[in-house]
Subunit: 353 residues, 2 copies
């Protein structure tokens, strides 16, 4: 199913994503050229081995990796100035497309969106493994040529990602639901903490930390993302407001039936999220282990866990500086928890679930 | 500042929290008696070593550890049937108190709320370390005696927790903000996922998983918690609805200034959350390491990280079954990231930030 990648690949914009893409493609020997408004960034990216400086030579594929507000114009320029296939890595797909509808060569464009990033930015944060195993939405529009779409899918695969093909409209609905809505509601929860008394915030547990983590993201970037996907985001926000009205009414009147329905629907929603990497979601449970707070102990714990032949799905650490102990949460498949519990207990660890 | 704990301690309700409390107090040699409507649970809890079966003997302190709906009546019963100090471990403080206002001996009651739990329940999930280093709100009311408050604070300390003293009203405002509001908005986000197309959910990343994790909690329990704290919760939900209206308007009209203000306020809120265990919040960054997906490698990584003398604040693992590699995220203090990055690189690990 894979077709050869048109080469060389020109990456426009050598920030975190553009430079990481160069590094990822170089692993497979793809010829990569780099350009950026900021010559310093190009120097850094070429220095890291992400490709060579672009000097106007013919290219086979252009990847636009610039901030959301500049994506439309950069795609238009690439279509006008080259005869290459053109794609982008922006988080919103229909808004830039609307500005391009009349562009000559628009059949050479097929959009893309790797679901990978970091709270850091710039070429120095880049890594060849950024896309490994991540979904990469490929979003051909109505007149994208089959060759353009095939080239973008091959690009995503060579970068290490898993292709998810969606129309631009479906993509924007999907990210409104799985990314933009969660972000904005996380922001509203965090906003209620900003002026809370300090001794009230002392009761903060892991729950509120998890719910508000993404609210710490760069406001300038999120402003561009949200306004670029305004229609889909506003639609979902309006649905949430309707649910919120029902919820306020249920809480105020003590209507437990209605409250229960909303809570049950939330549980169903958490179960609808697929397992990481698109695999089926397997039920997991946590085994907690008390670990003395020095580094060698953590290594010893993982050695013992490894010897028990149980796969660790995730780990969380909660330090307690006052006691110099840490509480390590090992997340494992439900069916293996009992075995791990027993195996660690035998090796002298204080465990609980 | 600590005064002797009145003994024996009677724990009413041998679920996760009650049994864990018995186990925690037994570490310090405290005499613990146990009772529960379910005799099977008492048998399990005594079998685990959490204390002895209660047979009506005189007690010094009663801890009510039953589901939210039953807390008020159980406190009233303990005040009537014993001359002991009485406390509870419920997540809401003013609602049970209102039912007790006229109770004889109410000065012997001072409320409490350990910020500790698990998605599991029942005595078999209990552990003596459940409260270690966690905040334990102690909430004397207007007529609580100094002796009752001192006894409850000593109980919390002996269980391993850090005491945070708040009035019942302040406590309920605090948990509405740091626990009940985040829970309910997480539920609303998750509710929007319940009927989403599967190929849209394929784009789910870590953000939506974090925001919706708590929404998987037991609806029956949360129904009781939320209706027990209705006034404070409804007040905050109404504030959020007002902000949501502003947000919908900003997104619909493309008002970037107003959107930016809301996003900035969210960032400020995430920074207001204290560090774990009440310490100052230190800026952390993540170092990512590609790790072959077999157990020994994880032990080797932690051994090398330990040798680099950098304290690991938290860990996340993202498996990629297709490639048999995992991506391990090591969260460390910002000032130590560069050093860890270099140290792991020297030892042959493929790292990035």
């Amino acid at each position: 199913m894979s077709s050869p990648l048109p080469q060389p690949v020109l990456v426009v914009g050598t920030g975190l994503v553009g430079t990481s893409l160069g590094l990822a493609l170089r692993r497979s020997g793809v010829e990569v050229l780099l350009t950026d408004r900021n010559p310093e960034h190009v120097r850094t990216a070429t220095g890291l081995g992400a490709g060579h400086r672009y000097a106007g030579e013919p290219v086979g594929l252009v990847v636009v990796a610039v901030p959301p507000d500049h994506i439309g114009p950069e795609i238009a320029r690439a279509l006008a100035e080259t005869s290459a296939v053109v794609t982008d890595v922006g988080s919103v797909k229909t808004a830039p497309l609307r500005t391009l509808e009349a562009a000559a060569g628009i059949e050479r464009y097929a959009g893309g969106h790797p679901m990978a990033g970091s709270e850091r930015s710039g070429p120095l944060a880049a890594t060849p493994t950024l896309f490994d195993g991540r979904p990469w939405a490929v979003t051909p529009h109505r007149t994208s040529s089959a060759a353009a779409t095939a080239a973008v899918e091959e690009l995503a695969r060579l970068a290490g990602a898993s292709v998810v093909r969606l129309s631009p409209e479906e993509h924007d609905e999907a990210v409104a639901r799985t990314s933009h809505l969660p972000h904005l509601l996380s922001v509203l929860v965090a906003g209620r903490l900003a002026d809370a008394p300090t001794d009230h915030l002392a009761l903060s547990g892991q729950g509120v930390r998890d719910v508000t983590r993404v609210a710490g993201g760069d406001p300038a970037l999120w402003q561009q993302i949200v306004t670029g996907n305004a229609a889909a985001v506003a639609g979902l926000l309006t649905q949430v407001r309707d649910q919120l009205d029902v919820l306020i009414d249920a809480v105020t009147t003590g209507d437990r039936g209605s409250l229960g329905e909303i809570l049950e629907r939330g549980v169903a929603g958490t179960r609808a999220i697929p397992g990481k990497h698109g695999g089926p979601s397997r039920p997991t449970v946590s085994v907690f282990v008390s670990v003395p707070d020095h580094p060698g102990e953590l290594a010893r714990l993982f050695a013992d866990a490894g010897a028990s032949d149980v796969n660790i799905e995730d780990v969380h650490i909660d330090h307690d500086p006052a006691r110099e102990t840490g509480l390590v949460e090992l997340v494992v498949e439900e069916s293996r928890a009992e075995h791990l519990h027993a195996a660690l207990g035998e090796r002298g660890w204080e465990t609980h679930r």
